[in-house]
């Protein structure tokens, strides 16, 4: 093999092949991929018009010219991915045969000196053992396959297919990328907005960047929305020293105790966005100010008698001049959950050639599939009764899914199983047998050493008991 490679290197193509299979090139590509991928996480990946909102015009121009706003689709990043695949393919081809030989035709027999020279190697004299057959039995108990290579030599192995792990992994990565390319080439992605009661074949295709028509029609029968009940978080502190007395969490209508006063509060109303009309003309108003001034109306009771109502705001954002009702404590709001969406669902019907063929209620994480097109619940508009759907047709998905699974399998084979081999030389001694044992594993030397020591211990036990 080594000779072969040295000869190949002399020709130009031999040199090219050598570089394509080189591990140094592989490491360089991996590190380059890691480093260049960072760019797109720092620079916004947005359409040009949006880039101008995020960056100063000069910066935005430079970034767009360099293609940095769509970095992962730029020629150089795709080229880097191409090199990655090339290297992966070449490495896999180059190392396939040697690996296959290691699995199917391992070196089963070694001379005694070779065995003694191994890192894990021991010599034991076991008086009470009945020849090779018994040794075979002992090793088999550890899950090894044992073959007799000659009358004095034993070869044992397990987990040999683990060596194929990296090949499975590499092929899977290549296939996943092929699946991804298939999806890019022959699939499409888009967005559909559909109103309750409407039936339409139209969607906005992101692939074509224009409106496009489905081969069938889709109707929205009904749009459902569910909300979690509102919840309010208060912080009650002592007016004199600012010490926090309590942090009650209450829902609408629920009562809470105000510490130190014996008074109970009850939330009777709330505004997620409480605004007092700004008296200034529009041009002077600070329109960029955060719009959220949540407020909660609390009714206070002392021994069952209502003593008053006050609006409670977030600390420092009190919009009203209210006469304090409880002079000893300061109550402020620190969190308000008003309309937390629990679920939104759309009941969709598919009309093919004028007939209703399918009805399904979809929600996030549960899409509708029909003739290779999938509709995903993505947004909704409560007021307009409009449901927003993602539309996707991706013929590469089955391939991606299958090879993602084999990729996990391949990685697990590579790292959770190791190819363990044991070699034995057995000779008749004056009393019993002299055993020379050596072992090797392609992964996890520590784990293997533990097993090796256990096997050795079995033989040593025989020594003492015999």
């Amino acid at each position: 093999m080594v000779k072969n490679r040295a000869r190949k290197n002399k020709t130009f193509w031999g040199w090219v092949w050598h570089y394509c299979c080189s591990i140094k090139v592989a490491l360089t590509i991996l590190i380059l991929l890691a480093l260049t991928s960072i760019i797109g996480t720092i620079i916004a990946q947005e359409a040009p018009e949006k880039m101008f909102q995020i960056y100063q015009p000069a910066t935005a121009n430079i970034l767009i010219k360099l293609g940095m706003n769509d970095m992962y689709n730029s020629w150089w990043f795709i080229a880097l991915l191409g090199l990655f695949i090339l290297n992966l393919t070449c490495c896999t081809i180059d190392r396939f045969m040697p690996t296959w030989k290691l699995i199917t035709k391992p070196k089963k027999n070694f001379s005694l000196d070779c065995i003694k020279a191994r890192k894990n190697s021991d010599e034991i004299i076991v008086p009470s053992i009945n020849g090779v057959a018994e040794i075979t039995g002992i090793i088999k108990k550890f899950g090894y396959h044992v073959t007799l290579t000659d009358e004095h030599s034993l070869y044992a192995y397990k987990g040999r297919w683990a060596r194929m792990g990296y090949i499975v992994t590499h092929i899977s990565i290549i296939m996943v990328l092929i699946g991804a390319i298939m999806g890019k080439v022959s699939g499409y992605k888009g967005f559909m907005q559909i109103q309750e009661g409407e039936i339409s074949p139209w969607y906005w295709s992101r692939t074509l960047n224009k409106a496009a028509k489905l081969d069938f029609m889709l109707g929205l029968e009904k749009l459902y929305m569910e909300y979690y009940p509102p919840e309010f978080y208060f912080e009650i502190s002592d007016v004199r020293n600012g010490r926090v007395l309590g942090k009650p969490k209450v829902s609408l209508g629920e009562k809470f105790k105000v510490p130190k006063t014996g008074i109970k509060g009850q939330v009777v109303d709330y505004r997620p966005d409480y605004r007092v009309a700004d008296p200034r003309p529009v041009a002077e108003r600070d329109l960029t100010a955060p719009p959220e001034y949540p407020a909660v109306l609390v009714k206070y009771q002392e021994k069952g008698r209502v003593i008053g109502e006050r609006w409670i705001f977030v600390a420092g954002r009190d919009l009203l001049r209210q006469q304090p009702l409880l002079p000893d404590v300061r109550i402020s709001l620190y969190n308000l959950y008003a309309e937390r969406t629990k679920d939104y669902k759309s009941t969709l019907s598919v009309y093919d050639k004028g007939e209703r063929v399918l009805t399904k209620t979809i929600e996030v994480n549960d899409p509708l599939r029909y003739r290779g097109v999938t509709f995903y619940q993505s947004s909704f508009d409560k007021e307009k009764r409009v449901s927003g759907l993602q539309v996707a047709h991706d013929p590469g998905v089955p391939i991606v899914y299958i090879f993602c699974s084999t990729m996990i399998l391949g990685v697990m084979m590579s790292f959770y199983i190791s190819h363990r081999q044991l070699w034995f030389k057995v000779e008749k001694a004056r009393q019993g047998y002299k055993i020379n044992m050596a072992g090797m594993a392609n992964r996890n030397p520590l784990g293997f050493k533990q097993e090796y020591d256990k096997i050795l211990a079995v033989f040593n036990k025989r020594k003492s008991s015999g």
Binding site: I31, A34, Q53
Partner: protein
């Protein structure tokens, strides 16, 4: 509130266990190590009970992975479990002195967060949540333990006093520091200009904020990137760095991460996420905080050089550490792979796209690339010792950034945890 009591007791156990492990390291008394492990096991069991109670409280479909509190406590929990597994299997008590303090700090950090059980948003209502988060976090936990091992490895690596300072080294070194300082000064000038022009007090993402993010990002990437390349690629520089800066490097990474995380969460709670981005890129933040960091660095340098040799003598031998580190990474890598894939499948079931280069996805892929490089370097290219140890450090740095940095500094789909 029941579950929190359990989490707090576990927190206490981890604290005592961490203390005992450190005492064990210093004194070398076996008994202390055994007690420390026993207490860590007790803490782990109590943590399990708390976790189950919390799950029960939230409801069957609501695995406790929905907010930062839950995710940090789970991270700590899995890390402790993985460490205990390694210890029972390979007898690695000194590692506890590096892992348990991490667990204790993690729990302490979780205590600063909002522990309320929040209802699940529609996107998280999926069975994939459990699979995806559990797979990723087992991977992260293994990498955290690997980080503890690498720290020990670099601490133990003997100083090479005889390394000559070549002219080559000093030129690169000089260029590196000049570039860093120039970038920093340019950044301050630019942000002061931007502040004057756009008034940073404006809420929302002002045009300047994007520019600043690039400058800060570029600065950090250049700084860490150059450092990474030098430490891995040039032997002479690596020896130099290892002899004087290995501990410095590690304490820098750890302190920066913890600092950014704590500061980030505090700011995010009081300011909201967009304001946080501005806050992080403000010159004031960078000047004052880098001074604080510098102080911590100098302190850690003094502490680490003081009695370093005596400490190193108590650590397991280098070969052993290297082997166990490989076990940790080889254990975590398939989990990370499966975690990324489960996330991709979930995304395809929820949004119709399995890969969208969103920052969280991309950073998890970066982490995957770094650890893939580690495994190939070690097995195929025959890299050994300090070189691979540095790769593992950058791998964990990438894990930390994937986990916290993306949420605090970058925006994307994963903004809820």
């Amino acid at each position: 509130m029941n579950n929190q009591l359990f989490y707090n007791i576990a927190f206490g156990c981890y604290f005592i266990s961490a203390l005992l492990y450190i005492l064990f390291m210093v004194s070398g008394k076996e008994v202390l190590g055994k007690i420390a492990t026993a207490i860590a096991v007790v803490g782990g069991v109590i943590n399990t009970v708390g976790f189950i109670l919390r799950w029960a409280e939230g409801g069957a479909g609501h695995a406790p992975f929905a907010n930062l509190y839950e995710s940090v406590t789970f991270f700590v929990y899995v890390t402790v479990a993985f460490y205990l597994y390694l210890d029972i299997r390979y007898d690695m008590k000194p590692v506890g002195a590096f892992v348990m303090p991490l667990a204790f700090l993690g729990m302490g950090y979780a205590n600063l967060l909002d522990p309320n059980i929040e209802p699940l948003v529609p996107a998280l209502q999926s069975n994939w949540l459990l699979a995806h988060v559990a797979l990723c976090f087992v991977g992260y936990a293994a990498f955290a333990v690997s980080y503890g091992l690498v720290t020990m490895y670099l601490l133990k690596t003997p100083k090479k006093r005889d390394v000559e300072v070549s002219t080559n080294f000093s030129i690169i070194n000089l260029a590196f520091f000049v570039a860093t300082i120039a970038a920093f000064v340019a950044f301050i000038i630019l942000s002061v200009m931007a502040t004057a022009k756009y008034q940073v007090a404006l809420p929302g993402l002002s045009p300047a904020a994007g520019d600043r993010a690039i400058i800060v990002g570029a600065w950090v990437v250049v700084f860490v990137g150059l450092y990474a390349i030098f430490s891995v690629a040039r032997e002479r520089i690596r020896d130099k760095l290892t002899s004087y800066f290995s501990v410095l490097n590690i304490s820098f990474v750890v302190t920066t991460c913890f600092y950014l995380i704590i500061e980030g969460v505090a700011q995010k709670l009081s300011l909201g996420s967009q304001q946080t981005a501005l806050y992080f890129t403000s010159p004031r933040f960078l000047i004052y905080k880098s001074l604080i960091l510098l102080a911590i660095l100098v302190l850690s340098m003094i502490i680490s050089s003081w009695k370093r040799e005596a400490l190193a003598a108590k650590l397991p031998d280098l070969q052993q550490l290297d082997n166990i580190n490989y076990i940790a990474i080889a254990f975590g890598f398939p989990f990370l792979t499966a975690g990324i894939i489960s996330g991709a499948i979930w995304a395809n079931e929820a949004w119709g796209t399995y890969w969208s280069w969103d920052p969280k996805e991309t950073w998890s892929l970066i982490t995957w690339f770094v650890y893939a490089a580690y495994l190939h370097a070690r097995y195929m290219a025959g890299w050994k010792g300090v070189k691979t140890a540095y790769l593992a450090v950058y791998g964990f740095l990438s894990v930390i950034f994937t986990y916290f940095g993306v949420n605090l500094l970058l925006s994307g789909l994963h903004s809820y945890n």
